[in-house]
């Protein structure tokens, strides 16, 4: 049972040491001023944190039917609208897997 629970963490540890192949580009991989600090878990991980309570009210939006959320991170009441932002950054022209 414990071994099954630790398996994802072990996978993260193993995969986190895998980096990209050296850059073959004719220019340097990072231009001056770019930074490269990172940590590298690779499995799918999920967390959520509370926001402070609202202190001001903004313009009311048009009446919005709220879909029933199937939250991956939290369960919301029906009156809320779920916003999902998928995002990437600093992919540096990689279209193929990089390591």
């Amino acid at each position: 049972m414990i071994g099954r629970m630790l398996a994802p963490l072990l996978l993260v540890s193993i995969l986190s040491v895998v980096g990209c192949a050296p850059n073959l580009a004719p220019t340097s991989s990072l231009l001056p001023g770019e930074q490269g600090t990172s940590m590298a878990p690779t499995a799918t991980l999920t967390y959520d944190v509370p926001l402070p309570p609202p202190t001001a009210t903004r313009a009311t939006v048009a009446g919005q039917g709220s879909p029933q959320p199937q939250a991956s991170t939290a369960v919301a009441p029906q009156s809320l609208t779920k916003l999902t932002i998928l995002h990437t950054n600093d992919s540096r022209g990689y279209v193929d897997p990089c390591g």
Partner: protein, 259 residues
């Protein structure tokens, strides 16, 4: 890890969840650096992003690696806006690209503003034709007009995590900052003031997912982050495989057997 074919598979899966307002954003340093991207002058990347249905992208130093004019050309081909509020023409001081976009989805207006790091002025040839204005002052100046058109304000920021925290403190009224540059893989969304900050690694190895909830007054709550590792067990999307292969045929890459 990574690759646009795996990324497209995950995007399609998540987009198919019909219970959510969905935005797909890129925070820049995206178009150049790898050989195929450089040889195609960023076209392979823009075509891949078009196919994946990106909604907006910010401009970083690497996106200017082939100069302002090539970036303008790629922006014209992109079916999503490439944004920079503070990259301005040296001749007239006006933004070279759109500073922000307002996307209406499911009755709500999402104002998305792109901000470029000042280091981008060091990209080849940029100083001759463009200036990179102070990012915090630029956001501060534009925020009222964007706020008036938006229910949710999102900044896609190339400033780096520390500067993003400072931006959130300095300019109240930003709801979400999606960041880049410092390659941080944030396992938890940060909340600074009322702004949610997130960032997702580098080299396209991960797809970041931020879920949050809006009430009837557009107040956000319960932000949650998912780090989606684009590992080999994620199947390739055939459309993206074919797209990349077509560019690889045009620009064959050297291999150890065929240097």
């Amino acid at each position: 890890m990574g690759g646009v074919a795996r990324r497209a598979t995950m995007i399609k899966r998540i987009r198919a969840e019909a219970d959510t307002v969905f935005l797909l954003l890129d925070v820049g340093n995206t178009l150049f650096d790898q050989p195929l991207a450089l040889q195609s002058e960023g076209r392979v990347v823009v075509e891949a992003m078009n196919a994946m249905g990106y909604d907006a992208m910010a401009v970083g130093m690497l996106d200017l690696a082939k100069g302002v004019e090539v970036l303008r050309q790629r922006a014209a081909e992109a079916r999503f806006p490439i944004l920079s509020a503070n990259l301005v023409s040296k001749t007239d001081g006006k933004p070279i690209l759109a500073p922000y976009v307002v996307i209406r989805r499911h009755g709500l207006r999402y104002g998305i503003l792109g901000v470029t790091d000042p280091d981008a002025a060091n990209a080849p040839g940029v100083r001759q034709v463009a200036d990179v204005l102070d990012p915090v002052e630029t956001v501060r100046k534009l925020l009222p007009e964007l706020r008036s058109q938006s229910d949710v304000v999102i900044v896609i920021s190339r400033l780096g995590l520390g500067e993003d925290r400072m931006l959130a403190r300095a300019v109240p009224g930003i709801d979400i900052i999606v960041g880049g540059k410092t390659h941080d893989l944030l396992p938890v969304p940060e909340v600074v003031g009322k702004a949610i900050i997130t960032q997702m690694g580098y080299d396209g190895k991960w797809l970041g997912r931020l879920d949050t909830y809006l009430d009837a007054e557009s107040q956000l709550s319960k932000p949650g982050v998912e780090i989606i590792g684009l590992t080999p067990d994620v199947p390739d999307d055939p459309e993206l495989v074919a797209l990349v292969a077509s560019w690889q045929q045009r620009f064959p890459q050297p291999t150890p057997a065929n240097p």
